[in-house]
Symmetry: C3
Subunit: 327 residues, 3 copies
């Protein structure tokens, strides 16, 4: 995949170029403001102030520092693809508070890394059973608020990091586990996979998982999942749009590798900018979405990678892209 | 279904517990404010002020008082399931102003009842032909405004009452009749059913029916229904997501009973809260939706029914739920 | 189709009747305000101020004045149907700036014409390859802003003109070409057609095309198109809802003619009002959408064409509609 992108990145050149023109109303104060959940909804001015084109040409190298320190997950990198495996099979890969904090940390590390894609997979008979009930038994309101705030932060991070994120679902994904699949940019399911929002048949409705699921599939189908709590099989999930495709269990590795390789072609900067702009515009009214996206596209069109792609096309040669979005 | 929920509800205990914590900005002044159309869209503060957890343990009994007084509809209750039948077959179950007022009254009664689910069905060769043209012939603007205000109130009530509402569609549903199906939480269609927004080929476009239909199915499909006015068959409606499933005519009763029974399992309070939170969040930007849903979920997680469900799961025993959402 | 609408339009009568009642807060100052992109999103007061019922009975005749002056497109009218053909096959019907300005001009002329429907078709081996890279090579930010502003204006005009707009897609539509199909009210594809957002595998992500595509199909499918850049075939496009149907190449003409003829039945005024109200409400929260659509429907119900349709139905005779929406 590196070859497809161009081989001559310059590891030392660093430049922050013309981020926004006369329409910019505010620059974020610090890196800490980037990717804050909900920041995009405040106003158009906020949207346009998002420093999407504050890029750097720095090419970072080396493995992530903390990958070996996790307890419930495993993180590894092969070339441009990082894989995060939920690895507490004896706990059905429940998203306990410590596990979610590990995932948040891993996502933040991935965001800072050179990876082009992140695959979220799982080990064991269940992809993920969702929240850990033990975290909630007897907990007070402050504790449950903290739990769901961390969970929401984790789901938002999946969409905020500059990498392409693909869920690789080999088995049952329920509640927040199903929400995690719905929150990934893309998802591939094996035929043995299934998806459920089981809170509806218990004592605690899947409110936050339904936020993600209902933004992937039709309204009546989302309500059916949430009200009945019954699982849908992988073919139904693909038919409804909850996952991109379903394949035989033995083909899952290949199908994920294929989708990843097709998703990371082209300029890394352009792809990251595209991901961010998509999530910024999808919740807006069409008029506001165009106002935002047209400005992003105009600015992106004058960036070095866009100009390189255009010139390569006109010159009938392969492009060599060099930019990355800093995060 | 009662057995599944737990047999020992206490019919006399009554308690209003910790509705909202420090983030609450306003309490609604009276019951009259609850379920007002459009109240959720005003601001996040409004959303959080919604007294979702102002529950009572009171277990009401007895049939609804007004069920025998209607002219155009029949309402009956069997166990935890109430059924509302449109019963003016000679008028093709048109939604005349008096009929809509009867339905509004019936929905308000159901909301106050012990029912867990409401099935909306119809009698005769047509499910419903929509508005009654006689109400509009020669009417002035005040009269037509009143007509569509009542209609909108009726459609909103279907989504505001705490019960699971399932449309049972055995035949053609057109215009506001199609809107009624689209407004139900869930819908099952017989193969003989069909769906149309016929105003597009006449003199009065189906503006308000399209509001509901376009929130259930894809944009181009909704436009095709509205522009052509031609009916789609039940299989197409299921394929597009306008109904949850289509079955042979002879299987309609069983399919509705099955979907209802699977939809009313678990805590009644949790299910009602889930329904309300879904409709409150689905129109919001994802960031706002999470801000709202995470707070609802955190508060719901410390409620007695949620804690009972969690403890029962951890103790490997069946839960016994006792709460209902007051309305 | 004229026969279906009624044969006795009066070409001289002209009347502007009761546009809005007591709820109107502002009247647009001039025709120039009509159809301005983004005007509907500002507030409900703005929505209600939209002069939807400021109609005229004038029946304009004659061909469009500028149809023979275009370079990259051909415009012709047959009865009530105007056809716009992208006709630069040697340029793969790229949407260069001059071509987009021609399309904008043609759309504005169509809006002022008597046509009931506009078919957007193309000539040559490609429907449209999207933007012309030569417009962007070495361009400065002001130039790219202008390019995407014109493009957005063109896409918005497709949805703002009072005619039914149907895309007739016989071949590959990529980037802004795919966006153009997504922006049409309806679309019919031949089996040889395909659809792609190829910027994702180059240096410039398809930000603005994705605004349109992601409002037609599910989220994960839209992301897959935009991230991979790979084309989807016509059957997949129909399955996902990007086009209304796919037919054999040899049936494309007939399928388009059939959909057009079924889409232009009924009152021209009512259909145009319905189109505009749909695009005004679809991006709103459901509560706001109902507030708007119910008022439009109440006012429409007292219009001459609506009353004619109602009386004809009650009298069991064919209606004769006479109104058109001025633009």
């Amino acid at each position: 995949m590196e070859a497809a992108r161009g081989a001559d990145r310059n590891p030392t050149e660093e430049a922050s170029f013309s981020p926004w023109g006369g329409r910019v109303t505010r620059q974020l104060e610090s890196d800490a403001d980037i990717g804050r959940p909900g920041q995009y909804a405040e106003s158009n001015a906020e949207l346009l102030a998002w420093p999407v084109l504050s890029v750097t040409h720095t090419w970072k190298t080396g493995p992530m520092s903390s990958s070996s320190t996790y307890d419930a997950i495993r993180v590894s990198t092969d070339g441009a693809v990082t894989t995060l495996v939920l690895d507490k099979p004896e706990k059905r890969n429940a998203l306990s508070l410590p596990t979610m904090l590990e995932i948040v940390d891993a996502l933040q590390n991935v965001a800072q890394s050179d990876a082009d894609a992140l695959v979220i997979a799982a080990n064991g008979p269940v992809f993920s059973a969702g929240h850990n009930f033990a975290d909630m038994a007897g907990a007070d309101l402050d504790a449950t608020r903290h739990l769901f705030d961390v969970c929401t932060q984790m789901m938002n991070l999946v969409q905020e990091i500059p990498q392409v994120v693909v869920a690789k679902v080999h088995a049952l994904a329920t509640a927040a586990g199903c929400q995690l699949v719905a929150s990934c940019d893309l998802a591939v399911a094996a035929e043995s996979a299934a998806f459920a929002l089981p809170g509806g048949k218990g004592g605690l409705f899947c409110h936050t998982p339904l936020v993600a699921v209902s933004r992937n599939i039709g309204r009546k189908r989302a309500i059916e999942m949430a009200f009945t709590g019954d699982p849908i099989d992988a073919r139904t999930a693909a038919d409804w749009g909850l996952v991109n495709r379903v394949v035989a269990d033995t083909d899952l590795d290949d199908a994920v590798a294929d989708l990843v390789s097709r998703s990371v072609r082209g300029s890394a900067m352009s792809k990251s900018l595209g991901k961010r702009a998509f999530y910024a515009q999808i919740g807006l009214d069409q008029g506001d979405a165009y106002g935002y996206a047209a400005e992003v596209m105009a600015q992106a069109a004058v960036s070095p990678d866009a100009q390189e792609g255009i010139r390569a096309f006109l010159d009938k040669r392969s492009p060599m892209f060099t930019e990355r979005l800093t995060d």
